[in-house]
């Protein structure tokens, strides 16, 4: 399996955690992005994610390779959902193992920041008032 993966199915967190396990690692930092019930002051009912899958996977793998080059880490994995998600659903998971916690935290943060900036995935929020809209990277509306 690839280290960065775009998934149309629910993310299996415990399987990912098992893949990260390593006797050399003393630290594991993870990040989970959950579907939140609000954004920029509006109630959110659900989300849809679209992805340009081949480029998203290639760009995601590049980001993980950059993290391995920049930080003293042992392993790094990331999975991002596509499709329809409800409030509370897991949209993205990042996990990083390392000998020491500083590198694990820094690499985990780097990966999610870069994924949000660079990977071709788009979020369409469906609001409580019936409207919907595509979002910019800073979570403000496109138009």
């Amino acid at each position: 399996m690839t280290n960065f993966h775009i998934s149309g199915e629910a993310i299996d967190v415990s399987a990912l955690a098992r893949r990260l396990a390593d006797a050399r690692a003393g630290a594991c930092a993870t990040f989970e992005g959950w579907v939140r019930d609000h954004n920029e002051g509006r109630g959110v009912k659900r989300l849809d994610y679209q992805a340009y899958v081949p480029l998203a996977q290639a760009e995601g793998e590049r980001i993980l390779a950059e993290a391995r080059a920049r930080y003293a880490i042992v392993g790094a994995l990331c999975v991002h959902r596509t499709g329809a998600l409800a409030i509370g659903d897991l949209a993205v998971w990042v996990g990083v193992s390392a000998a020491h916690r500083g590198a694990a935290f820094d690499a985990c943060r780097y990966i999610i920041d870069e994924v949000k900036k660079r990977v071709p995935i788009w979020k369409n929020e469906h609001y409580a008032d019936g409207e919907s809209g595509w979002l910019h990277p800073n979570n403000t509306p496109v138009e």
Partner: protein, 79 residues
Amino acid sequence: MTYRVLYFATLRDQAGRDEESIVSDAADVSAFYEELRGRHGFSMPREKLRVAVNGEFAGWDRALRDGDEVVFIPPVSGG
């Protein structure tokens, strides 16, 4: 030449389709986007988009060849 185009997010909504094949004389990515803009009325200016050709990021001056797959990439919002 015939180019394959995939649409995502706002561009997909405005084009009213996921993808299409287009016979075009546009020699590069830049000319091709202007042609599609005229056809679908895309509201998004070029400065907000990135471009990929055949699954890899490319510049706006990238020359196109018959059969190329072209994707105009709106600002992303994963995570």
